[in-house]
């Protein structure tokens, strides 16, 4: 057993809507732990609750019930200012649409999390250069986001997410707006970071190919965790396994939908 888990979620629920009549469970009784150095993917259909889960973990949204602790800190009891500081120190984000600041250069974008913590310029420089080197974007340091390609932008975003050595890297469909070549290159980079630097990564995706880079996949459906899939063999085999699981869910969902439809139809006729 390793030390403190990176994420420990216990009986987490998120309810939308205040009146009991139209309450809707976006997350229902979710429990889940992630150990340090894991690379986990969260998969599920649209509206299954995967983005809500990510938002709650990333402290952007607060749960209705249950507790979450990240790197040993219970974040459900923090105030908004403390949450901001926590995000700044412990979390790194990669978003689908990059979210770079187009009024800062690549270098300045990456340095932003460090400079927000008032780090000395010399210290900052070495850290930013290191992470730029690792992600292969040293040459575009002085360019503005509008002048570089989508792949380079996403690498910049990744560098910004990693530069302050967060406890956890969170990705929200990080390959969502990249073409295949750039997506593969980003995923390879993430895998390398995970394996070589033991960075814990949690990534939300609906794309089986991206998910196949993970070490573990958690499937979520209607706000519940329904299945975990561990990678045992090669990535190709894992990819097939994921597709099978997704296929099963597709079939199950289709057959589940038809009896309900028929029942309600019958009810209405009565």
């Amino acid at each position: 057993m390793r030390s403190t888990p990176v994420i420990a979620i216990k009986q987490l629920s998120k309810i939308y809507g205040s009146s009991p009549a139209n309450q809707f469970y976006a997350l229902k009784d979710v429990s889940f732990t992630m150990q340090e150095g894991e690379f986990i993917g969260i998969m599920g259909a649209s509206g299954s609750g995967k983005t809500t889960l990510l938002n709650v973990i990333s402290t952007l949204d607060n749960p209705t019930e249950g507790t979450i602790s990240i790197a040993g800190t219970d974040i459900t009891r923090m105030k908004s200012g403390e949450l901001s500081d926590f995000r700044a120190k412990q979390l790194g984000f990669i978003f689908q649409d990059f979210n770079l600041l187009d009024n800062l250069t690549v270098y300045e974008n990456i340095a932003l999390p460090l400079s927000l913590q008032n780090m000395a310029v010399s210290q900052m420089k070495s850290k930013v250069n290191e992470v730029m080197e690792k992600l292969g974007i040293s040459l575009i340091a002085d360019k503005y986001p509008a002048m570089i390609s989508g792949g380079q932008r996403q690498r910049t975003a990744a560098a910004r997410a990693l530069v302050h050595k967060p406890a956890l890297l969170l990705g929200d469909e990080p390959t969502g707006s990249l073409d295949l070549k750039n997506a593969v290159s980003l995923l390879e980079t993430m895998k390398r970071l995970n394996e070589e630097d033991r960075i814990s990564i949690l990534m939300v995706t609906h794309d089986a190919f991206s998910a196949s880079y993970c070490g573990k996949i958690v499937f979520i459906q209607d706000g519940r965790l329904v299945q975990e899939l561990h990678r045992t063999g090669s990535r190709e085999v894992f990819y097939k396994q994921i597709l099978d699981v997704l296929g099963d869910y597709g079939k199950a969902a289709a057959s589940a939908a038809s009896p309900i439809f028929e029942a309600s139809y019958a009810q209405e006729r009565r």
């Binding site: 949204d61 200012g81 700044a88 927000l116 913590q117």
Partner: protein, 607 residues
């Protein structure tokens, strides 16, 4: 269907339209306020001090129209930017461009009619209110002033209809050139970065020359006269625009580079350095408006002050009473004079006789020659020249100081005077009368007494006699000056309010693009307070640059009045403070509104 679509689109963005409408209404009501003055010819003629005030009005009218035109273009650009994506969506869904065009036309006209209606109504109220306030404060009647004035209404309506027509046309042209995809993805277009070039340097030099010429003509207005007025009116704005366009972006870029690794400041200046390119022209406009606004108020106040100075130096003694009645004595005795003198005189055969002893013993105060025209009471001295005793015209009887003093106090200034020794004076077979003259420390403090004495003096003479006293003179100049003050104040507030709403407008219309940036910053862990501080700081700089330029313009520009006013810089701090207060209020308002636009979404997401 088309109208329904247009209306529903407007309804869904009611809040943004409120901002737009508020700006337009303000612009229209201010324009109307101004027109009531410009077209009320009887009012300007009855209240203005100088003949060439009409020229000032024409200049003012021209400037106001030009600025209003810019303002309307901004407002309509804002309108287009609000609906751009929606129009794009309609086009994608298969609407024809001609349909979109008429949709947009309907909207522009609807906004125009609505703002004209509200603006004019507000304009009536505002004109009436401000007019009454001024009249009450200055204790004058504003002859010929009407709050609701036909020609002004007509002109305002025609002017704005033409403007709205032009801007509708402008939007049509802009839309025709745009591609569907550009409309849909308007947000993703990045702003351009500033780059140095030879062309820009030339423009910078030209700007410096133009501003120099403008300042030069303002400083030497007295010599240049009308030519100076024209040069200043054209060169100063041109110089301001060029310098703002050429100097501001590199300056901000420098600020940005200095702070590029200092946390949130990096973001603040980065944000500013991109924003500033689109802002330079507006900031120059704002600087000009500040100058005009504060300058107009300062000018009006200087005129009022001038009236005081001029009446103060009109004569040394505050009151001159000939042959006082008991009632007059009573009033006189109640006044705490610092210097009160009494001389006997006799009138015989159209000649005035003074007793030498009286004058010798009570030498009156006069202004020391070198300090003539200055208000300084310390520079008053007693007459030292020898009394011109004897026949006028003889060698002994020439003393300029006594001459001018005795002329001032004479009961009838057409008579010659003679100063006699006591025995000769006594020998004249007429009853001696007396002249009482008095000076207080503060002329303005005893206005009621002066008025009462003037009143008594008129009733004493009974034959429609008008005393030409210092107080009369004061009242007259003050009446003229208050008219000018009224115009200056009116104009000044109009300019200040318009410029601030211009700036507010521009900043707010860009807010939509910034929402994502602030959202992202908060996601990566920037505290809300820090983001708010960044907004305060950024907008402070945006407001600061034109503020400084505007104040500089005022400081130089007040020289313009040097040829009609004694002290054009008198109490300049009052209009400057007034400006600072108005400006600060708009700054805070802009920060708050902007904050609501860019940070509201985050609040919902996190809490």
């Amino acid at each position: 269907m088309l109208i329904k679509l247009a209306l529903s689109g407007m309804k869904s963005r009611a809040k943004d339209y409120m901002i737009l409408l508020a700006g337009l209404v303000m612009s229209i009501s201010i324009f109307y306020m101004f027109q009531t003055m410009a077209w009320n010819r009887s009012f300007t003629e009855a209240n203005a001090v100088i003949d060439s005030i009409q020229l000032v009005y024409i200049m003012g009218s021209f400037l106001l129209s030009a600025i209003t035109l810019f303002y309307i273009l901004y407002a309509n650009g804002f309108l287009l930017s609000l609906r751009q994506r929606e129009y794009g969506l309609y086009l994608v869904l298969g609407a024809r461009k001609s349909k979109i065009r008429s949709l947009m036309f309907i909207e522009t006209i609807a906004v125009g009619i609505l703002s004209l209606g509200i603006g004019l109504t507000l304009g009536f109220g505002l004109s009436a209110l401000v007019g009454r306030l001024m009249a009450a404060q200055l204790q004058v009647t504003l002859t010929g002033y009407h709050a609701i004035y036909g020609p002004a209404v007509l002109f305002t309506v025609v002017f704005f209809v033409v403007l709205f027509g032009l801007s509708a046309l402008w939007n049509q042209l802009k839309l025709a050139r745009l591609q569907v995809l550009q409309l849909v993805h308007d947000h993703s277009q990045a702003d351009q970065l500033w780059k140095s070039s030879v062309w820009k340097r030339v423009l910078g030099v030209l700007g410096l020359i133009a501003l120099g010429l403008g300042y030069f003509s303002l400083t030497f207005m007295e010599q240049l006269r009308e030519i100076g007025l024209f040069t200043a009116t054209f060169m100063t704005p041109i110089g301001t625009y060029l310098l703002f366009m050429v100097l501001l972006p590199p300056f901000v870029a420098m600020l940005k580079n200095r702070n590029s690794l200092r946390g949130i400041r990096a973001f603040t200046f980065g944000q500013l350095s991109f924003r500033i390119n689109g802002l330079t022209k507006l900031l120059a406009t704002v600087a000009m408006l500040i100058a005009l606004g504060a300058g107009a108020i300062a000018g009006g106040m200087a005129f009022i002050n001038d009236a005081k100075i001029k009446s103060e130096s009109y004569s040394v003694y505050d009151i001159i009473v000939h042959d006082p009645l008991p009632e007059e004595e009573k009033v006189l005795n109640a006044i705490p004079f610092m210097d009160r003198l009494q001389y006997r005189y006799k009138v015989e055969h159209g000649k005035l006789y003074y007793a030498r002893a009286d004058l010798e013993k009570q030498r009156p105060l006069i202004q020391s020659q070198s300090m003539q025209g200055k208000k300084d009471a310390d520079q008053l001295i007693r007459i030292t020249e020898k009394l011109p005793v004897g026949e006028a015209g003889s060698e002994a009887a020439s003393s300029a100081e006594w001459d001018s003093f005795l002329w001032t106090i004479a009961p009838d200034q057409s008579m010659d005077y003679l100063i006699l020794e006591e025995d000769k004076f006594e020998a004249i077979p007429v009853e001696a009368k007396s002249i009482v003259i008095g000076k207080t420390n503060d002329f303005l403090a005893h206005r009621a007494s002066w008025a009462a004495l003037d009143e008594l003096s008129i009733s004493k003479h009974k034959d429609g006699y008008m005393p030409w006293s210092k107080f009369q003179y004061y009242q007259n100049t003050m009446g003229n000056a208050s008219g000018t003050f009224f115009m200056g104040f009116f104009l000044g507030i109009a300019f200040l309010a318009m410029m601030a709403s211009c700036l507010m407008f521009k900043v707010l219309s860009g807010a939509a693009k910034d929402i994502l940036r602030y959202e992202m910053l908060s996601k990566i862990g920037v505290r809300r307070e820090k983001l708010i501080r960044s907004i305060y700081q950024e907008l402070f700089l945006v407001f600061l640059f034109p503020g400084i330029a505007g104040v500089l313009h005022v400081l130089v520009g007040m020289r313009l009045f040097a040829f009609i006013l004694e002290e054009p810089y008198y109490k300049l701090w009052i209009p400057l403070v007034l400006f600072a207060v108005i400006y600060f209020v708009y700054y805070m308002l802009t920060v708050k509104l902007y904050q609501n636009l860019v940070l509201a979404g985050r609040k919902k997401a996190v809490v």
